[in-house]
Symmetry: C2
Subunit: 440 residues, 2 copies
Amino acid sequence: MGCDGVKDVRITRVRVVDLRFPTSREQIGSDAVNKDPDYSAAYCMLDTDGECTGHGLTFTLGRGTDLVVQAAEYLGGFVVGKTLAEITAGFVAFSRLLTDETQFRWLGPEKGVIHLACGALINAVWDLWAKVEGKPVWRLLAEMPSAQLVSLIDFRYIDDALSPQEALDILDEGIRSGMVERLSVLQTQGYPAYTTSVGWFGYPEEKIRRLAREALADGWTHFKLKVGGDAAEDLRRGRIVREEIGWSNRLMLDANQKWGVLEAIERTRQLQELAPWWMEEPTSPDDILGHARIRREVAPTRIATGEHCHNRVMFKQLLQAGAIDVCQIDSCRVAGVNENLAILLMAAKFGVPVCPHAGGVGLCEYVQHLSIFDFLRVSRTMEDRVIEFVDHLHEHFLEPVEIRRGRYQVPQRPGYSIEIFADSLERFAFPGGAVWSGGR
Amino acid sequence: MGCDGVKDVRITRVRVVDLRFPTSREQIGSDAVNKDPDYSAAYCMLDTDGECTGHGLTFTLGRGTDLVVQAAEYLGGFVVGKTLAEITAGFVAFSRLLTDETQFRWLGPEKGVIHLACGALINAVWDLWAKVEGKPVWRLLAEMPSAQLVSLIDFRYIDDALSPQEALDILDEGIRSGMVERLSVLQTQGYPAYTTSVGWFGYPEEKIRRLAREALADGWTHFKLKVGGDAAEDLRRGRIVREEIGWSNRLMLDANQKWGVLEAIERTRQLQELAPWWMEEPTSPDDILGHARIRREVAPTRIATGEHCHNRVMFKQLLQAGAIDVCQIDSCRVAGVNENLAILLMAAKFGVPVCPHAGGVGLCEYVQHLSIFDFLRVSRTMEDRVIEFVDHLHEHFLEPVEIRRGRYQVPQRPGYSIEIFADSLERFAFPGGAVWSGGR
């Protein structure tokens, strides 16, 4: 907002809101593991000496959001007083101020509460940067010189898998090989998506059927179903969805980390009659070798994971180990856009398609920028790529995602599309907002 | 205290203290990455309807301890109201109440702030249990039937590497094969240790020399030096230590995650002239495949890691990948005694010696129990096993570790040796304690 024509801004204050939506009341977002999620966020605002404010959030599930808020408030101290130009000119050094804080680091490093907080703050810097540049984040990225993009990436712990030169080559090729044409395709066709909203775990059969029919009518061709409950019940629900969507549309299954490695192999084989396009999170998100073994033993069923993959070092290994067919980046579990650039480039090098996780609040708004950039400059293809879509809570955003016939439309407003209406921030603030103080 | 003759107790209240020691003022604990640690803890007390109180802590480095304290206070709600017998009869189910809290889980799972909090609470249960049984934790464990020990372990996500039956067999063999004789050896000889206190990063040459001489005179034979700074400077400091301790004593090097994989290979090779007994934390603690590659390429130098390994799934993979020669468990980064039982048993199955991390406050007090149990029931040997020792802050414990001629003496008092004097809890409480409110 109000950033037009500004050259640089100095960040003068960081405000963080504990924002919680009572989605568990309707079993929205429920799966085999996450039974009662209240879609929530540690929501950061970087005020500046101009009219500009940078917004960023990290997604959480309710309780514990206060911990991330406090971590972001503390780490926000490293942001205040800096100009945007100072930050972006030495972005890796700036990021390390947050990710390497000498005492906080013990609590990770680069994982859990403190890393989630880093994601919110760094993404807020990106929102601010894009607003000052007058571009959506995807365009800011897509139009950036390769060397500058490479300078944004922390290669520490990943240079054995991807060197700066290899990153540069991929990005250069992204410009040379018809980026303008790809943008034109994107502007007319949008980016393919899949819907998760039909098959939440707690939904009864009739609701699943109705939502599947509605989604089909809206042009959806890719559907995800939550599994990981009773084996027969999983199959039954899967057959219901297949009955509704037929066999020419794609069905993905998601076990949300429910199984051990051996059980995952057995259960995935049982579910193969549903012809899943991928099996998602069959086991612990930390189990790289476990995913690799599952993948070998359930071939040709494709294995997907990433929404709980906590940093680029873990993604690097998933790729090195041949553990995944689908790389599911999350926009704010890792340290923001910068760390995701590293992951996109590693995925490209290893030839693994990126299909972002977006089941949450604000995640659809965020990740569309990353997938669009991936298409324009990195992977250069939309084949076998889909962005997750969940149809919840978009009404709170100034620029909500726009979906037409099952495809994301390219966002146009400057920024990272993550800004939430002030009124919503107030109503859903925890515990003081009207939604919570009324009757929790 | 005051637990004699009690049969069962009900936990009535959980108190958590933010405890911080200003160790950074003397550069105690300083290394290439952790430059200014204030040895700290989220310190938990489980009050009961009897005279007994269970104590447990999780180790932190200062800032951010408040986050762990808050997480422990919240998760403490799952402990209050339960009897000790209820908890121990269904320990895995109890642990999952903490580690699987449906909304908190998103902030991990099983890693970072929330998992550290679980470690403190679960260890406090063990302290309480051992006090009620009138035994030190090592003895409570060593005298427990194998089937009961196995029932304490959450095999979720690890049963592809270790089955309950395999665990049972290892533990049974531990009884059959001369446990009584081993205990007798232990009581007379103690458990071997190494000292880290001579070579903190910030110590000047003269201090290193003096401390090394003093340690030699005290009977130490294993010494650890922090590296990861300037290459020539690392070598210079290493040569100083070698000059003092000679070549018949063992020298271990610790890079505290400073390097990338390629750099770690190069730097470890340079340091091989020091004949390190192991190279510790050469790279990111998350990089299982990286450690495996480093190990292959710097052979025969042995690779050690684990103090930042955040759960049993990661340890499992370090073992499966052949990534480590030395498994460095930490007593409270994972979810307490129970998760460490899983790790000890996996290490035994894979034939990797366990040499616990103990550089912190309370960690020496804790881990001696685990290593003693490991010797009595699991690995059945002390060969190539040493427990870390740092000579800091022991004066705050009711039963501080006792070291004689470089060996831990077997603790005798009931409990987990982790109880801190009430006076110390008061003085070092942050930010209200006298040490902090005076002048920070």
